[in-house]
């Protein structure tokens, strides 16, 4: 797998690069800002681009902007966005623009090489990756009329994993159950929440996240 990396903090950037190389992933190039990343993506067409959200020059949402453009201009290249902060808004924005081959992880999590490599592979496979912290924050959101109260613990667990972007199979593996069971759970959850079931895995992530955030 070929990966390209943009992160303005040298420590983090070098750390990630080294982890990836140690894990046998080719790091094509490293950059400190978004513009260079875009140019390099156009040149080298990597499998996944990893980018920090906040980078020079404005230190605002350069990474997100770059991610959006990469997904639009190079649909083959996946994007993993890193952030120091837990912001569901970023995840939603990312998914809303092009809900496949994208991921959003907290920076501290990517130093766990297993998580990082897993995320990159999933993105490369066309799935979505959402940081569990974000999902748990959305699940833990205060609601006036909590529709999640009607779910069983296992259903809630399935919903969480589903929101993280895991496929049915991955959920089944994670929970050590059969694919069938997972499908049954998912059908039950969607029915209880009143969501229309969408066979496309990446679209249902957005639907679930949006549902979780929208307090009605």
């Amino acid at each position: 797998m070929r990966v390209i990396l943009a992160e303005d903090s040298m420590l983090t950037r070098e750390g990630i690069a080294r982890l990836l190389r140690d894990a046998g992933i080719e790091v094509v190039a490293e950059f400190a800002d978004g513009d260079a990343l875009l140019k390099e993506v156009a040149l080298t067409r990597p499998d996944v681009a990893i980018t920090d959200i906040r980078m020079p020059p404005t230190h605002t949402d350069e990474g997100l902007v770059a991610a959006g453009r990469i997904r639009q201009e190079h649909p083959d290249t996946g994007v993993l966005v890193l952030s120091q902060y837990i912001e569901p808004s970023y995840a939603l924005r990312l998914l809303a623009e092009r809900p496949e081959k994208v991921g959003y992880l907290l920076k501290e999590r990517v130093f766990d090489v297993a998580i990082l490599v897993d995320a990159l592979r999933r993105i490369d496979d066309g799935e979505t990756v959402i940081d569990p912290t974000i999902v748990s924050r959305l699940l833990g959101r205060q609601r006036r009329h909590d529709p999640l109260a009607g779910l069983t613990d296992r259903e809630r667990e399935v919903l969480g994993l589903l929101a993280e972007g895991l496929s049915n199979r991955a959920i089944a593996t994670r929970l050590s159950v059969t694919d069938r069971t997972v499908e049954a759970h998912i059908t039950a959850v969607f029915a209880k929440l009143g969501l229309a079931e969408d066979p496309a895995a990446h679209r249902r992530v957005l639907a679930v996240l949006t549902y979780l955030r929208d307090d009605r």
């Binding site: 420590l11 983090t12 906040r54 230190h59 605002t60 970023y90 205060q142």
Partner: protein
């Protein structure tokens, strides 16, 4: 060229004129004649060509031409027409009033009447008229016109004087002897007038009338007090407004008004409103006694108070803004202190624990040790970063050890040498943060910009101010207006009432000195002004003190919305005053006839025509002025008394009418002694109309009763025929009941004795009253009181003379002298009354004009309109000059910048040579030289009012900007801190977790489970610190707000909230950072309030429309903290809590 031709023509005309008029053999005649003509023509041409006033030039030239035409008797006086025109209309040719116009017309008319038909008397009358007209113009002139009118008076007086002298000379000296010298004098005077007026035209102005100076009316300043002081002629007048806060009357500059004590000659007039104390006027007790005048003054006071109210309102705004700025600073400081606290108890403590854990980690192989070593390095760096952050948030040393240790710590981090000279004695604790930040910012500048090798910090407390001075030997050139750092410091210093001065010459280092007052300034006293103010206590709370009339004449006025008004005046109208007028006029005419007709020496006027003259003059003048008073009691309350005095004065003439009816003579005899009583009445009652003290009223009644008793009894018992001393009427007494000569004589003696006593007492009393009175009171009353006193002395002397020599004889010298004194005193009294009437009338007019003007001008900011109307230029604009910042502002205090005047004329409006405002107007529309005449006294007052107001409003604008800067500076600082945290400690900690993971993996590979366990613990600890730092960073400044804007930030708040938060519509667009930040802070506080109040949910909506962001948070029943509201206020928005909903409107450009 034209000029040359005109000059040659003038010479030619002159020579021609002389040739026709005179023989060449008589140079004595024609040379001066020619000189006069040429002078007139020359000055006329020069005025036309070189001075800006062509009208004057034309008139001078026409006068010169007319002069040369005066060769025949028919045209001899022709030049006087244009000459009079020139003088009356100077400078210019336009008449200023109808009277001027009439004077000019009369001048031309008189000029064409042939000399032969003129009488010397007519010349004298016309000359006097000319002087009078010019004098009137001078008296009425205001502002710059005064100078021109003065010239006119001088010229008119010179011309009039020489004409009168010439006429008198011709009358006195027979024949033609006086003609030639008189003509010569006349010619000299004419030349003088021409040259003098020409010189007075002044220096030429540039082609366009720009930068013309308009001097305002001569009142010293524009305050109501000064206007009233002029109107009531009491320079010591004070106006105080009731201040509920101070429980006393205060002047508009905040000083307490001292109420006068009895007998000081100073009185207090209380102005109440709806039964509550409102204002007080402290004045001479004599100047404000007329109820109408008091009413008018009260109205004017109330109206002016509206202005004061507006000013006070703006000042209140100023205070509020200033307080708001202070609150914002305090809130920012508090929050930083809190964050520092969080940092110390959270991340820093966890970091220490992590360090300890790592210190205990051993084994795991060399690779693991390598990673561990790097992790420790990163950890150390992270710890240092957090230390810096803590210092940046809030210097702990300041809280723990005070200013000295804090500055020591601060100086420690400065790369150049810093000398500390700090004396903390007397420095209050609440000033310490300001001093610290001042030094910190100054030293940061020194290191950043100045390239200094040495800096010096001096802090000392002297008297009631702390002086802070930071000097360096660096490159200088710091610009206080440029860098936001210095500006922020200035704001901070101003917020505690201090001042900051920066001196930074390029290449010579920088000196920054601040003076911080130890006692914060207290807002000024409140000035009650409006019924809306509920704080005014009931009058009785303050009343007992005043009720006794400490000020002698304590009048009380209750304000009514409408101005005093003619309706009030009707109350003073006497019934049948027309009848009184007819009867008294008839009486006066009859008296004149009688005096002229009697030739028997039975009366004083019959002795000589001079005696008749003064007798009639005194009586008629009294009756005339008295009748005016009867008609206009408001201006002359003692009118009826004066009429009675005049009537009684004539009584002896009727007594001494030998052929008169017996009844008439008898009545006149009874009436005549009342003269003394009337004098007492008038003397004690002036100017109010009735005596002020009850003692005085009793005295008047007693004197009247005594006179009546004496006069009637005497009439009943005295048979004039039997009276040996009888001289005036020895025949008739129709009241005679029984003849008792002894009693009659005893009565006479007693009466005369009493007259002496009463006359002397009255005179002494009046003189004392004048002595006790203030200057203002004296100035107002002496013209009446002195003649009354003299008349009283005259009566006393008269009575004394009769006591000594009962045989009265008008031809005897002593009696004649006494009579003359009495008559002249009465004539003077009439004059004095006339003066008093005129003055009072003027005062009332001026007051009602002032009140009406104030009423019209009650709305500030309208002056531009008024002036624009006066100029006839709707585009005229007024810029007020604020000397302190040195700039022009509009009436609302907005900066006018350099005031673009391209293509416009500028007229400077000055008061006593000091620039007040500049009027920018179209040069073509009008002549601004007419402006002084059009600017009335109230407008002048208004200009001052408005300038004051503009000045305060400008301060408000400045303060508003300063407040916004305080918010921005604090936000910027926090954003910077967050960025430092993000780029520093947070990345370091990530690196620590990274190295620890690697170390742990290496230990795993090396098969060291102990090391692996320790490293696992350390990794968890490091993750905990990362999470804590994330929260801290979010608290310092929410990154998502900067990164993604308001909508994600609000959603993020809803995600984390402790209660269900429904996010309605929130615009996705980006807004200016301060706006986003203000809305964000409001929502944070809203959620916090709702959570604390136990609400089960809340909803947030943000709507963007018409450049305003409207935030609504519901349900909400509590207002957020003041500094949150201040933040919105700093952006020109407002926060309202109504109907269970908190809403804020924030302008977003």
């Amino acid at each position: 060229m034209v000029l040359l031709v005109a000059a040659v023509a003038a010479v030619g005309v002159g020579v021609l004129g002389e040739a026709v008029a005179f023989d060449w053999d008589e140079p004595r005649l024609w040379v001066p004649d020619l000189v006069v003509g040429w002078t007139l023509l020359g000055t006329g041409l020069a005025a036309w060509a070189y001075r800006r006033d062509r009208g004057t030039g034309v008139l001078l030239g026409v006068t010169g031409l007319a002069w040369f035409l005066g060769f025949s008797p028919a045209t001899l006086y022709l030049h006087r027409g244009p000459l009079v025109h020139l003088i009356v209309a100077f400078a210019g040719w336009r008449a200023r009033s109808r009277l001027d116009l009439a004077a000019i017309a009369v001048g031309y008319a008189a000029a064409v009447v042939p000399g032969a038909r003129r009488s010397e008397w007519a010349t004298i009358v016309l000359a006097v008229g000319l002087i009078a007209v010019a004098g009137r113009g001078y008296v009425q002139a205001r502002g710059r016109a005064v100078r021109d009118r003065l010239s006119a008076v001088q010229a008119g007086s010179a011309l009039g004087g020489v004409l009168i002298m010439g006429a008198v000379a011709r009358m006195v000296v027979p024949g033609a002897d006086a003609v030639v010298p008189a003509l010569l004098v006349y010619e000299v005077v004419l030349c003088g007038i021409a040259v003098g007026l020409f010189v007075r035209l002044g220096t030429p102005a540039p082609a366009v009338v720009t930068d013309l100076v308009v001097e305002l009316a001569e009142s010293r300043s524009g305050t109501l007090r000064d206007r009233l002081a002029v109107v009531v002629a009491d320079p010591t007048l004070q106006v105080g407004y009731w201040s509920a806060g101070a429980n006393a009357y205060v002047t508009d500059d905040g000083t307490m008004v001292e109420l006068p004590t009895a007998g000081s000659g100073v009185a207090a007039t209380f102005v109440a409103r709806d039964g509550s104390p409102f204002a007080v006027l402290i004045h001479d007790e004599l100047v404000l006694r007329d109820p109408l005048l008091v009413d008018a003054v009260a109205s004017a006071t109330r109206l002016a108070a509206c202005h004061v109210a507006l000013q006070a309102e703006v000042r209140g705004q100023l205070d509020e803004l200033s307080a708001s700025r202070g609150r914002l600073l305090v809130a920012a400081d508090d929050e930083r202190r809190r964050l520092e606290d969080t940092l110390r108890h959270g991340p820093q403590r966890s970091l220490a624990e992590l360090t300890a854990t790592l210190a205990g980690a051993r084994g795991g192989g060399p690779q693991s040790a390598d990673h561990l070593h790097r992790a420790q390095e990163h950890l150390e760096q992270a710890g240092a970063d957090l230390g810096d952050l803590a210092l940046g948030l809030h210097p702990r040393a300041l809280a723990e050890g005070g200013l000295c240790p804090a500055l020591d710590v601060l100086v420690h981090g400065i790369p150049c040498r810093v000398l500390l000279d700090v004396d903390v004695q007397g420095i209050p604790v609440d000033l310490e943060p300001t001093i610290y930040y001042l030094c910190a910012e100054a030293l940061a500048n020194v290191t950043k910009h100045a390239e200094a090798t040495e800096a010096r910090v001096e802090v000392s407390c002297r008297d009631d101010a702390v002086l802070v001075q930071v000097t360096d030997d660096g490159s200088g050139g710091a610009d206080p207006a440029g860098g936001s750092g210095l500006q922020g410091l200035a704001d901070r210093v101003q917020a505690v009432g201090g001042t900051l001065a920066v001196s930074s010459p390029v290449g010579h280092g920088t000196r920054l000195s601040a003076t911080l007052p130890v006692q914060h300034p207290v807002p000024g006293v409140d000035i009650p002004t409006d019924a809306r103010q509920p704080t005014v206590p009931p009058h009785h709370e303050a009343a007992p003190e005043f009720a006794g009339g400490r000020g002698g004449a304590a009048a009380e006025v209750t304000l009514e919305p409408a101005l005093h008004a003619p309706a009030r005046a009707a109350r003073y109208r006497l019934p049948g005053r027309r009848l009184v007028l007819v009867v008294v006029t008839g009486y006066a005419v009859a008296s004149v006839g009688l005096v002229v007709g009697i030739s028997t020496p039975t009366t004083y006027p019959a002795v000589s025509s001079a005696a008749a003259g003064v007798f009639l003059a005194g009586g008629l003048a009294l009756i005339a002025i008295g009748m005016i008073g009867v008609w206009d009691r408001a201006s002359l309350a003692v009118g009826p008394v004066a009429v009675a005095l005049g009537v009684v004065w004539f009584a002896p003439a009727w007594v001494g009418w030998p052929a008169g009816p017996a009844t008439l003579r008898s009545v006149a005899m009874v009436v005549a002694p009342f003269l003394l009583g009337l004098l007492v009445h008038l003397g004690l009652a002036f100017p109010a109309g009735r005596p002020r003290a009850s003692r005085d009223r009793v005295a008047v009644v007693v004197v009247y009763l005594a006179t009546g008793g004496y006069s009637l009894t005497r009439a009943a018992v005295r048979d004039p025929f039997r009276d040996v001393h009888c001289w005036s009427n020895c025949a008739d007494n129709v009241f005679l009941v029984s003849t008792l000569p002894g009693l009659a004589r005893a009565l006479d003696t007693a009466w005369l004795g009493m007259s002496v006593a009463v006359g002397l007492v009255l005179a002494v009393k009046l003189v004392r009253r004048l002595r006790v009175a203030t200057r203002a009171g004296r100035g107002l009353t002496w013209p009446v009181l002195v003649p009354v006193a003299v008349a009283a002395l005259g009566e006393a002397t008269y009575a004394a003379a009769l006591l000594r020599d009962p045989a009265e004889d008008p031809s005897q010298q002593q009696f004649a002298a006494v009579f003359l004194v009495r008559a002249l005193a009465l004539a003077a009294l009439a004059g004095g009354l006339a003066w008093a009437w005129r003055r009072q009338r003027w005062a009332r007019r001026a007051l009602s004009a002032l009140a009406a003007d104030l009423g019209d001008a009650a709305r500030p900011g309208t002056l531009s309109g008024t002036l624009a109307r006066a100029l006839g230029d709707p585009g005229a604009q007024v810029g007020y000059w604020l000397p302190a910042p040195g700039r022009y502002v509009d009436p609302d205090g907005r900066d006018l910048g350099a005031l673009d005047t391209t293509g416009m004329a500028r007229t400077r409006i000055e008061r006593h040579g000091v620039l007040v405002a500049v009027l920018v107007h179209d040069p073509g529309v009008t002549d601004p030289r007419d402006l002084p005449a059009k600017i009335g006294p109230a407008t002048a007052l208004e200009i001052d009012n408005e300038r004051l107001r503009a000045g305060v409003l400008a301060q408000v604008e400045d303060l508003r900007a300063s407040r916004a800067r305080v918010v921005q500076a604090s936000d910027a600082a926090r954003q910077q801190l967050e960025r430092n945290l993000h780029d520093g400690a947070q990345q370091r900690l990530l690196a620590v977790t990274y190295e620890l993971r690697l170390a742990r993996a290496a230990a795993h590979v090396a098969g060291d489970p102990d090391a692996e366990r320790v490293l696992a613990t350390a990794t968890d600890q490091a993750h905990a610190v990362v999470a804590q730092l994330r929260d801290l960073a979010h608290g310092i400044y929410p990154a998502i707000l900067t990164e993604a804007g308001l909508s994600p930030a609000v959603w993020s708040l809803a995600d984390e909230a402790a209660l269900p938060v429904e996010v309605g519509r929130v615009p996705e667009a980006r807004f200016p950072t301060p706006v986003e930040r203000a809305v964000y802070v409001l929502v944070v506080h809203g959620i916090d309030l709702a959570a604390r109040s136990g609400a089960d949910h809340m909803r947030v909506d943000v709507v963007h429309a018409d450049g305003v962001l409207t935030v609504t948070i519901a349900p909400m029943d509590r207002a957020p903290e003041v500094h949150v509201v201040d933040r919105v206020g700093a952006l020109g928005g407002q926060v309202t809590l109504a109907g269970g909903m908190l809403s804020a409107e924030v302008p977003c450009g």
